[in-house]
Amino acid sequence: MDNGQEHTNGIKAPSCDLDPASATVIAEICQRFDNDKHRMLDILRAVQDRYRWIAPATMNKIAEATDLTRIEVEGVASFYSFLSLTPKGRVTIRLCDDIVDRYSDLKGVTAAFEEVLGIKVGETSADGAFSLEVTPCIGMCDQAPAAMINDIVLTGLTPETARSAAEALQSGTAPETLVSDRFNHLSPHERALRQVDNNIRHAGECLLGPVPEDAGLVKALSMTPVQIVNQVEASGLRGCGGAGFTTGRKWRFAASETAEKHFIICNADEGEPGTFKDRVLLTERPHLLIEGMTIAARAVGAKEGILYLRGEYVYLRELIEQVLEDRRSRGLLGSDIMGKKGFTFDIRLQLGAGAYICGEEGALISSCEGLSGEPKTRPPFPVNRGYLGYPTVVNNVETFCHAARILDKGAAWFHDMGTDGSHGTKLFSVSGDCLNPGIYELPYGHTMWELLEIVGGEDATAVQVGGPSGAMIARDSFHRKLTFDDLATGGAIIVFNGERNILEIVEYYMSFFVHESCGYCTPCRVGNVFLQKAIQKFQKGLANPEDIDYLKDLSGTIIETSRCGLGMTSPNPILSTLQNFPLVYSAVVKPSQDGIRATFDIQSAIESARKIAKRRSYIFDRDFSQ
């Protein structure tokens, strides 16, 4: 009971009374979201943006307005990384701390910010101007190191550019002015492109090549819902977020549920480190995405949709809002879409707030409902009882885009691309040690060797396929194919050359899972901490041969007993490297001497007592003369 701690330590908790002006502002914010508890994440985001933290008094006020208890509000506020229960600076700088950033001189960039702003990572400046933080992958691995400055993204930083950015901020420059002097005159699309490069290296036939506007939707409207589902199913389209469930079946299940309402949710919460394909689709193909969602709505009979955008992509908010508004004004969203009587569908944008787990279907729905991003108990499945208990289709950005294209070009066209069981094209987000990091749209079925040749990463010694929850493979597996049945990936391909330390990468990925576990179930909450500590033992050269069995054993328990996909895959960095890079582990283990544990360091254990007693040890210090 962390909130009780303040009391017992005698530190006075911040006042529980709000000044009248703030009370009015908070009330207005809640009102803006109809005092609806299901919009809690929006309310808290708005309060965070306005006050730079969620004060206890604020939580009381929000609880009152939304008819919740204070602890329920606090539960949500304390869950998301981008919400804060302590005051943050007017400008919050979040440095992207991914392994790819670390290998692109994140250290130098961090040092530059720390030096200029006079604060360390994790601190807020005394005048309340700046907070400096690190955050896991923000989806910019192709242009690392990157940072979020409030809602602005800076990419391709060097210690020099970081220094000048920090100095400009220090002298009062607004974050958006760092992007352009004329920021306010730019269109949302231009603003996005000034901040982040698309890095489209290879445009394929489906998504990134020429795409006719709303051609799929026109055809869908001439079909019955059943025909639409049939066509998507016949195309062989499978979910592109990583799990690979057959999209047509998902739509069919949801459509067959009799309910008052159905919902379509787009999962644009791509948080898997090394994945940034949806970022590019959201920037370059937003209409195609909305078209796909509209088609899905037609197929399952949904009138409402939600586009869940990860908090890290807040810089795309205006762009998407503009697209939605544009489509509403052109009759492509709203009632009687394209003149089709009775076909009503609209979409709201839901912004996340820094939680990888929200990419999990159930957690995403929880988050949309204004709750902590905790996965839901299955069954029931979302297609049966999802958002607010209604049948809900949750698909990835890329999946919806593909669906729109399939409706236009036909199931056979899509089915003919790729391989048996993995049809169509896939967007690969390639980053790390290669010549051309970026987005590659390729048909399924290429081998890793072929992909590495295309991206200029032939000297790779290891490739992380599918991000940390995927697998790390070695050169002897580069002949394997990028398909659902062989090397499955939601899109992340991270290339590592021979200079990289595998254990360091594994330790980083475990720290990522520790940070991102929701904490609901025991094995994932606690077990991942133990795994991370065990890997650190290997890094320090203090591991025994038996510790290799311990890693496998503990991983097994976590995988078998975890409640959702996060825990079921979090040991993968360890298990896949144990399998594919066994020497990395066996080279550093040492059998223990006489049964004495190397992990126990007597010298560091008595160090503080030496200082307090001002004497050396008669037992463990050999030289008493000093």
């Binding site: 223990s592 006489d594 049964g595 004495i596 544990r597 992990t599 126990f600 007597i602 560091s604 254990a605 008595i606 160090e607 503080s608 007592a609 030496r610 307090i612 007693a613 001002k614 004497r615 040890s617 008669y618 037992i619 463990f620």
Partner: protein
């Protein structure tokens, strides 16, 4: 008595030590009561507070450790036991998980935790009557460790007998079965952590 095999041709050698504990586990060994007589037909006791032998006279088959490690001397003794005993048994909760002394671990989270702990215990604590107003620092006092370590974090432990203190029955039962090679774990009803 059924657990005790007829005396083998060589008596097993046993050593015991009390580290950071209350000596209660050693007292519990006496709770074996009259069965001690049968036990003593099978074993010789080497280094132990029970014999007052301060050093190993020979390599031992079994070493029994009460208490965890709170100071350097505990570590030294435990190392010595690990090197001189084939099988090492952690007896009781302190040896197994730190026990009462380990209460200090969870409260020591400041920058200078050990100093704070000693200050609280000897100087600033509300109910302290310490006329010297000093933290004891005789050169004969072993240096304290930064925290209290369960035995298994310092050396490899082969068996643990749970309890605070373990009952005479579980101690006798376990030793008897270990001596005749029949130990296959505890009956769940015998396991107690208090």
């Amino acid at each position: 008595m059924n657990d005790l095999a007829p005396a083998p041709h060589r008596k097993a050698r046993i050593a015991t030590a009390s580290l950071a504990g209350c000596f209660g586990c050693h007292m519990a060994i006496l709770d074996i009561d009259e069965r001690l007589i049968d036990l003593m037909k099978l074993v010789d006791v080497d280094r132990s507070p029970l014999t007052d032998k301060k050093r190993f006279t020979d390599r031992c088959d079994i070493g029994i450790i009460e208490g965890g490690c709170c100071n350097e001397e505990n570590v030294h003794v435990l190392h010595d036991f690990r090197r001189n005993c084939d099988v090492l048994i952690a007896l009781g909760q302190c040896a197994i998980m730190g026990g009462l002394p380990a209460m200090r671990n969870a409260i020591m989270h400041s920058d200078a935790p050990l100093r704070e702990c000693l200050d609280e215990a000897y100087i600033t604590g509300k109910y302290i009557r310490n006329t010297t107003h000093q933290v004891p620092n005789d050169p004969a006092l072993p240096l304290l460790l930064d925290e209290v370590y369960p035995c298994a974090q310092v050396v490899e432990i082969d068996f643990q007998i749970p309890g605070c203190a373990p009952s005479g029955d579980i101690i006798f039962d376990t030793l008897a079965k270990l001596l005749n090679g029949k130990f296959r774990g505890f009956e769940p009803e015998m396991i107690k952590f208090d």
